[in-house]
């Protein structure tokens, strides 16, 4: 889609949805895990592992689909490792999550350097071969729809998967047996055990799902949106997701709204950074004197302010973060 013929508002909206998609995906997984009483602050690391796995698989095989599968597999492996330590081993979840982040930084950094060295020795480029990444949809008929066409119909496939997942999760949490069990796991695990629901088995399962979601979100960043890899490409999004789950009070709609809001603030600040030099008005002149890091800081400040306003009225799952033992 060319951006020349859409209005600024449409452009910012589309960028917001682009930025929100991986956070909705990873956030829904995290929300389900937290509903079941397990908090994984290593979600940032799992996303990073997804980024590198997708990139390496797509770059070596030339297939974007294999890249996505590799990212999901990496997410599943990371999720099962985290579940092994926290659910089976009953270790502290915050600490284990911090270790997962460290592991991801180490593994992705090492793998990236080894890959670059191997490619350089073989005289091969490290860039993604043509067609190995995903392209966004751009159906011509969508442009005729005002606003919603360019904003919602020019997105990557994984965005639609994320929306579908969020809708399914919202319905499931509310109306299905599995949803009731998930909520009970976080609020009253002993009741689950008494009702014959294996707490550990369910928590293990939901952590696998959350891992797969975060892994796929990583693939979105590396082989869909950018077609590159950088060691800091998750840039704290996994941590922001953690805040947004609380911001949304553990409800899927709240989370999705939070992700869109964060994406909007982020794309707004990026647009402002360029606009303040090209547009000539008093406000833009004033903005142009500000350093751009202040703009980059904005989404995190907004998240903090939102938490400060909303947190008081947000009781989470009662047993969030507490290992279950019979």
């Amino acid at each position: 889609m060319s951006t020349a013929h859409v209005s600024l508002f449409t452009f910012i909206s589309r960028q917001a949805v682009l930025a929100a998609a991986p956070m909705i995906l990873a956030g829904t997984g995290e929300l389900l895990a937290e509903t079941a009483g397990v908090i994984n602050i290593g979600i940032e690391g799992v996303m990073l592992l997804g980024c590198i796995s997708a990139y390496l698989a797509a770059a070596t095989t030339g297939s974007g689909a294999l890249g996505l599968l590799a990212a999901i597999a990496a997410g599943l492996i990371a999720g099962s490792l985290f579940a092994l330590v926290t659910v089976i081993g009953r270790a502290d979840q915050i600490v284990a999550g911090a270790a997962m982040n460290l592991l991801a930084v180490g593994v992705s950094g090492s793998a990236w350097m080894l890959f670059q060295n191997a490619r350089a020795n073989a005289n091969l480029p490290t860039s993604l071969p043509l067609g190995a990444g995903f392209a966004a949809f751009s159906p011509a008929w969508a442009d005729h729809l005002p606003y919603f066409g360019p904003v919602l119909l020019h997105q990557y496939g994984l965005f639609y998967a994320a929306v579908l997942l969020a809708i399914l999760a919202a319905i499931a949490l509310r109306y299905t047996r599995a949803g009731v069990i998930l909520r009970a796991l976080g609020d009253s695990p002993e009741a689950c055990e008494a009702a014959g629901v294996g707490v550990k088995r369910w928590r293990f399962g939901v952590l696998l799902l959350a891992g797969a979601c975060a892994g796929a979100a990583g693939a979105y960043l590396s082989i869909m949106r950018t077609h590159t890899f950088a060691s800091d490409m998750t840039g704290g999004q996994g941590f922001v997701v953690l805040a947004l789950v609380i911001f949304g009070r553990w409800r899927v709609w709240g989370l999705v709204a939070g992700c869109l809001l964060f994406g909007a603030v982020n794309s707004l600040q990026q647009s402002l950074q360029t606009l303040r030099y090209t547009q000539h008005s008093a406000i833009m002149h004033a903005l142009a004197t500000l350093p751009f890091e202040l703009f980059q800081m904005l989404p995190y400040v907004v998240a903090l302010v939102a938490l400060a306003i909303l947190s008081r009225s947000a009781p989470g799952p009662r047993f969030l973060g507490i290992p279950w033992q019979k």
Binding site: D92, V95, G109, S110, V240, E293, L294, P317
Partner: protein, 389 residues
Amino acid sequence: MTQPPSTPPPVNLGDSSPLLPDGFAMGDASSSASSEAEQPIRRPPRAWFTAIIPILASVLALTLVVGGLSLLGYPAWGLVRRWVHGAVGNHIQIAASLASACPLLLTGLAVGVAFKSGVLNIGAQGQYLLGAVASVAIATRFAPPLPPPVIVLLSIVAGITAGALWAGVAWALERYRSVPIVLSTILLNFVAAYLATTLLHGVLQAKGTSAPQSAELGPGLWLPVLIKYTNLHVGVPIAFGLAVIAWFVLRRTTFGFEMLVTGANPQAAALAGMAIGRRRAQVMLISGAFAGLAGAFQVLGVAHFMTSSFGNYGYAGIAVALLGWLDPLGIAAAALFFGALDTGAQIVEESSLGLPHNMADVVKAIVILVTLLLAGWAARHRLKQRQGD
């Protein structure tokens, strides 16, 4: 300051596994969960026991990483030899290992003291960065017309203060707006990083550069080194001294006892008349001060200037605190180990093997995960044994 209870309440002092104090989880069921389960009073594990698990985990992690790399075709023995030589091969390398242990030790203490008291300060990274910024600001830009040693002292004090104040923001958000410290500190880390870059691009930027970096400190403002041609600065022994003091305060004073009890069992602490709220505030300030000091020492003792990428010691401190079993002396040992791992890995990266230094992070992460697993397993084993008596 409240009086210590005449007979200490029967609480878990938080030394035993699962590694962290009970009053620690995020959900509001944390205290009721432990009382409902009618857990027997846990005794602190024996010293050899706390030492052997991290050592076992370290050996296992190193074996895994070296084994994995040798499967990829790298010579296992050559790798180990270079790594060990790089870490402790001669007095220059030992000094380098000690120097890189210093910031790890201080951020480890920051995290350890907070975790031990049940305060989930994940924000050592932000507190460390702002400590470094404040320190470099005093040393390069706003130095008062005073003799250099006084400026160095002022610079250190500024670093400590900045770290403590940034931690205080997280405390205030929890106290007045009920924002969990674990979340606010995570977000504040990012705000701090951008704030640091803003200042390094702006008022602190060196002349004649467009990069976000400060001017270099005049040699008069460098912390003196203990061994020539190394960066083993006087901050290193000071940091280890602080670890000993922290150990003493935690183990031998009323203040330390109250911190431990607040972390181990907030209900019992409240019943015993301890001012939990005030303890949490103090713990947060002390924690931030340690992290800020790490930043100041890194500026004054090692780098002698500051850039926007100034290390991840705050995050690494979480790992160090954990491996050290949240005990100040254990944290010192863990910092030494991690510092040596990093220094050795740097040499391996520069050697003909050309392996990434990030492999040290992999080793650290596996050490933590294995420690968590072994500690949990051992605690359950001991519990079963005692119940069998």
